[in-house]
Amino acid sequence: MAYELSMRIWRGDRDGGDLTDYSVEVEEGEVVLDAIHRVQATQAGDMAVRWNCKAGKCGSCSAEVNGRPRLMCMTRLSDFEPTETITVTPMRAFPVVRDLVTDVSYNYEKARELPSFAPGPPDADGKRRMMQPDVERGQEFRKCIECFLCQDTCHVVRDHDENKPAFAGPRFFLRFAELDMHPLDTHDRRSLAQGAAGLGMCNITKCCTEVCPEGIHITDNAIIPMKERVADRKYDPLVWLGNKIGRRDTRTEP
C-alpha cells in the first residue's frame, strides 16, 4: 500500500528560503510527521523540525500544512489524495529559525508576564475542597498543550508584529480565564487582561477555536466570559461608586 508522496517543504532560515520539492515513499496509516521524518532520515539529514511525543500530547510539531495551522503528528496522509502534493511551511506568526522551526519565545515572554496562581487559606482541617463541576471549567483550559497554533492563526498578530507587545493572544486569554475561574484563586486579573494583555483587541472571529487540536472552546468558554467579566467591572455603576468612595473589591490587583 506504499506510494510515492510529493511534498514541498520550506527550507531556509532568517535570511530567507524557498519551497523545496521532495518525493518520499509513505505507507497507509502514516501522518505528515512520518513523511517529514523519512525525508530527514534519507534525503535531508539537516532539515530542522520540532517534535516530541508524536501523539498530539506535547504540542511541539506545529506547522502549516497546505496553509492550515496543524500538528503534523495528527495530520493523516489519508486526509489527502495520494496524488496531491502536500506543502509544509513553518508557522507564519513567528520568526523562522530554520526550516520548519520557528522562534516561539514570544509565548514564553507572555507567560512570564502573567501573575501566577494565588490560593486563599485552606479549610479549617488543613484540606482543600473543590467540587468536580467547579474544577471542570478550568480543566477544559488546562488541556492546552501549548502548540501555539491559536497564536499562529490569530489575525491580531499573524501579520502584525507591531501588535505583539500589547497582545498576549488566545493561549494566554485561556490562562487568564482558567485562573479567573479557579475555585481557590484570589487574584483579580481583569483589568490586567483588558489592559496589558490586550483582551479588548480580540474581536472574536473564533479562528483560534477552529485550529485548536484539543478542541478547547477558546472563544466561547474563555474569551467571551472574560470579556463579560471585564465589562461587568468596568461598567457596573455600583463597582464604579465603590471604587470612587474608597471601598475595594475584596480581591486585590497584583
Binding site: A55, F117, R142
Partner: protein, 612 residues
C-alpha cells in the same frame, strides 16, 4: 576560538532536564536559596512527563481510608520483586501524599471525590485506588503546574540546549579531585557552545527508550543522563530491567508503540485474545495468587467491593501482563495487527469512557479510526521505562561523584526490577525535591572552595562535539546517524527485548561492537544551526553506551525477575534476589560489571511482608 570566548554562566545548581523531576528539583534548589538553572533539550513544557496519563500514586486515603504509606510501600516492593532499594521505596510512599498536595497549592486541578477532595483511581499492583489524576492527562497537568510555578519563581531556563559533557575538577589532591565543576553543551538553535560553572549538577534526563524500535518514548530519551553519569565516574544499577508497557498501540504505523494508559484496565477494561478469551486468568503467577481473583465474577465485583474480592488479573504488575500478551501473540491468538484486544466498550457505557479516558478516546478516534466506546482496541507491549539508573543515596539522591545528583527515571533503585504504574510521577516529585535540596545544601557547604572548570576539558568537549563535521570534511566518515540509530533500535528490539537468551545477548554485544566501531565515523551534512542530524550524531554514543549496559547486565543475571525475562533461566532465583548489578566505566571507556549486595530490609519493616 579560545574556550574563554564561549558563553559562560555560573550557578549553584544546574538541573539537566525539565520534566517532572527536573522542574521539582529546580524549584527545591531555588527554595533553598541556590542560584539555579534548568537546561533542557526541548522547549519548556514538552518533556516526556507530559505523556504520562493515568495518575500519581500517593496513599492519601481519600477514597479508601485503609490506605497508608505502609500498604503503598509493600505494593511497591512486591511489584519490584523485592529488588528495590527499600529506603527509597519507603521515603517515596511516605512523602508522595505531601508532594501531590503541594501541586494543588501551585494551581493543579485534580479530579475530585464527591466530598471535594482529590479523587484516586485503581491501577495495576496497587492494593487500593490511590492514583491522583486528571482524566487521562495527569502528566500534562503535572508538568504545566510545575512549569508555571518555576516561571513564577523566576528560575532561569535554558531551552533547546543540550549538555554533552560534565566537567570535573582537575586539581590533584585536597579532596576536591574528581568533584563536579560544571557542564558543557550547545544551543540547538545556533550550535554555539555554552559552559556552566557549577559545583552541583542534578541529572533529571529521563530514560533510554529511543534505543528500541517500538517505544512510547520521544526522541529525547537517548540515555544522556545515564551516559553522562558513567563518564563522570558514577555507577549505574539495575540496567537489565527495562519495562515493556503491556498496552501500546499497534496500528496504524504512525502510532506504533504510543501508550494506551493502564487506566483503561483500572477503569474496567479487560484483555481478550482472538478467541474472545479473557486470557489473563491463565497467567496468574504463584507470587500473586493469594491476592488475585480467579474468576471473572470475583474480578468484576472487585471494582466496587475491594474488601471482599481480589484484584482482576488484568491489574497484575506490568511485567506480568506484558509477558502474558507476548505469549498469546506468539501462540497465534493475537489480533489482526499483531496485538491483543483491550476492551472497555462492552464493559462501561460510552459517557463514562469519554469522561474518564478523553485522551484515549481522542487518540484512537483521530489516529486509528477506532471508537473505543463501541469497539475493542488493539494493543501490544511497548518499551516504556528503564528501572535501572544512576546509583544514588536514598536520602540525598547523591551519586558517588561529589556534586552529582540524579532523580526520576535516570536514577536507579527505587523501583527494583519492575515499576508499578503511577509510581513514576510520584517518584519524580519525591526525589526531584530531595535532589534539588541536597544539591543546594552541597553548594552551600563548599562555598569558597568551589571546584574550577578545567579549560583543557572544555577544549576536548568542544572538539568532540564538532567531530561529525570534521569527519565529513575530511571524507573519513560516511555513516548516516539516522541509519545507525535505526540499526541499533532493530538490534535491541530483536535481541534485548522482553524475552532474552544468552545466545541472543551475546549476539547483541557483537552487534554493539560493530555499531560502536561505525559510530566513530558518523558524518553530518550542513552547518551547526538547528541541525537534527548533528544532534542525533551527538546523542548516538549515549544510546550505544546505555544499550551496552543493558545487554551486559542482562547477560549476567541468569534468572527471570520483573522486567528481565530469560528464556534459558525462567525461574526467579532467591540468590539473585540479594544482588544488584553495578556498572561503571574503566579508564579505557569499557563497561565494568560488579555484583554488589542489595541493602537489606530492616527487621521492623519485615512484618509488612509476612501476611499473604
Amino acid at each position: 576560538m579560545s574556550t574563554s570566548d564561549y558563553e559562560r554562566h555560573a550557578y549553584d545548581v544546574v538541573v539537566i532536564g525539565a520534566g517532572g523531576a527536573g522542574l521539582r528539583a529546580a524549584i527545591a534548589a531555588n527554595d533553598a536559596g541556590a542560584r539555579t538553572a534548568i537546561v533542557c533539550k526541548s522547549l519548556l513544557g514538552k518533556a516526556h512527563t507530559v505523556m504520562a496519563e493515568g495518575g500519581i500514586a500517593a496513599a492519601m486515603g481519600n477514597v479508601w481510608s485503609d490506605d497508608g504509606w505502609q500498604v503503598h510501600f509493600r505494593d511497591t516492593m512486591r511489584g519490584g520483586k523485592m529488588l528495590n532499594n527499600w529506603r527509597m521505596a519507603q521515603l517515596h510512599a511516605q512523602e508522595a501524599p505531601g508532594r501531590v498536595l503541594e501541586l494543588e497549592e501551585w494551581g493543579a486541578l485534580f479530579d475530585r471525590t464527591p466530598e471535594g477532595l482529590i479523587s484516586q483511581r485503581d491501577f495495576g499492583g496497587h492494593r487500593f485506588a490511590r492514583l491522583a489524576h486528571v482524566g487521562d492527562r495527569t502528566g500534562l497537568e503535572m508538568i504545566r503546574t510545575l512549569q508555571q510555578h518555576a516561571v513564577a519563581l523566576g528560575i532561569d531556563v535554558f531551552m533547546e540546549c543540550t549538555i554533552t559533557d560534565l566537567l570535573k575538577d582537575a586539581r590533584a589532591g585536597d579532596g576536591a579531585d574528581g568533584a563536579i565543576s560544571g557542564a558543557f553543551g550547545y544551543w540547538r538553535e545556533s550550535g554555539r557552545f555554552i559552559v556552566f560553572e557549577s559545583p552541583t549538577v542534578v541529572l533529571a534526563t529521563g530514560g533510554i527508550g529511543k534505543s528500541y524500535q517500538v517505544t512510547s518514548n520521544s526522541w529525547e530519551y537517548t540515555g544522556d543522563g545515564h551516559a553522562l553519569a558513567l563518564r563522570a565516574g558514577a555507577s549505574l544499577i539495575n540496567m537489565e530491567f527495562v519495562q515493556f508497557h503491556p498496552t501500546g498501540m499497534v496500528w496504524p504505523p504512525s502510532v506504533k508503540g504510543i501508550l494506551v494508559t493502564e487506566s483503561v484496565r483500572g477503569d474496567g477494561g479487560v484483555l481478550r485474545n482472538s478467541e474472545g478469551t479473557r486470557f489473563m486468568f491463565d497467567y496468574i503467577p504463584e507470587y500473586f495468587k493469594a491476592e488475585t481473583a480467579d474468576s471473572e465474577a470475583e474480578a468484576d465485583r472487585w471494582y466496587t467491593d475491594k474488601s471482599n474480592n481480589r484484584r482482576p488479573p488484568e491489574l497484575l504488575p506490568r511485567d506480568e501482563v506484558a509477558r502474558a500478551i507476548n505469549s498469546e501473540i506468539k501462540a497465534g491468538r493475537g489480533s489482526p495487527h499483531g496485538g491483543v484486544f483491550l476492551d472497555i466498550a462492552s464493559r462501561r457505557d460510552a459517557a463514562y469512557v469519554r469522561k474518564r479516558l478523553p485522551s484515549m478516546y481522542h487518540q484512537f478516534k483521530e489516529l486509528a479510526d477506532v471508537d473505543i466506546t463501541a469497539e475493542a482496541m488493539e494493543v501490544g507491549p511497548t518499551c516504556h521505562y528503564v528501572m535501572g539508573g544512576v546509583e544514588v543515596d536514598a536520602e540525598s539522591a547523591a551519586s558517588i561523584v561529589p556534586g552529582l545528583y540524579a532523580a526520576g527515571e535516570v536514577a536507579g533503585g527505587m523501583h527494583g526490577s519492575n515499576r508499578l504504574g503511577g509510581n513514576s510521577l510520584s517518584d519524580l516529585l519525591v526525589f526531584g525535591r530531595r535532589a534539588g535540596l541536597n544539591a543546594a545544601y552541597h553548594a552551600q557547604r563548599i562555598e569558597g572552595q568551589r571546584p574550577a572548570v578545567d579549560d583543557d576539558a572544555v577544549r576536548v568537549a568542544a572538539d568532540h562535539a564538532v567531530a561529525p563535521f570534521t569527519e565529513a570534511a575530511a571524507d573519513r566518515g560516511d555513516e548516516n546517524p539516522y541509519t545507525l540509530q535505526r540499526e541499533l533500535q532493530d538490534s535491541m528490539q530483536e535481541l534485548v527485548g522482553i524475552i532474552r537468551t544468552d545466545e541472543e545477548l551475546s549476539q547483541a554485544q557483537k552487534r554493539l561492537d560493530e555499531l560502536e566501531r561505525r559510530g566513530q565515523h558518523l558524518a553530518v551534512e550542513g552547518h551547526r544551526q538547528y541541525n537534527p542530524g548533528w544532534h542525533l550524531a551527538l546523542d548516538l554514543p549515549n544510546m550505544l553506551l546505555v544499550s551496552r549496559c543493558i545487554a551486559v547486565a542482562a547477560r549476567e543475571r541468569t534468572e527471570s525477575r520483573g522486567g528481565h525475562t530469560r528464556e534459558d533461566f525462567p525461574a526467579t532465583d532467591d540468590h539473585w534476589g540479594t544482588i544488584n548489578l553495578a556498572l561503571t566505566l574503566d579508564d579505557q571507556g569499557n563497561v565494568v560489571l560488579n555484583r554488589q549486595p542489595l541493602p537489606q530490609l530492616p527487621e521492623d519493616l519485615q512484618p509488612l511482608f509476612d501476611k499473604g
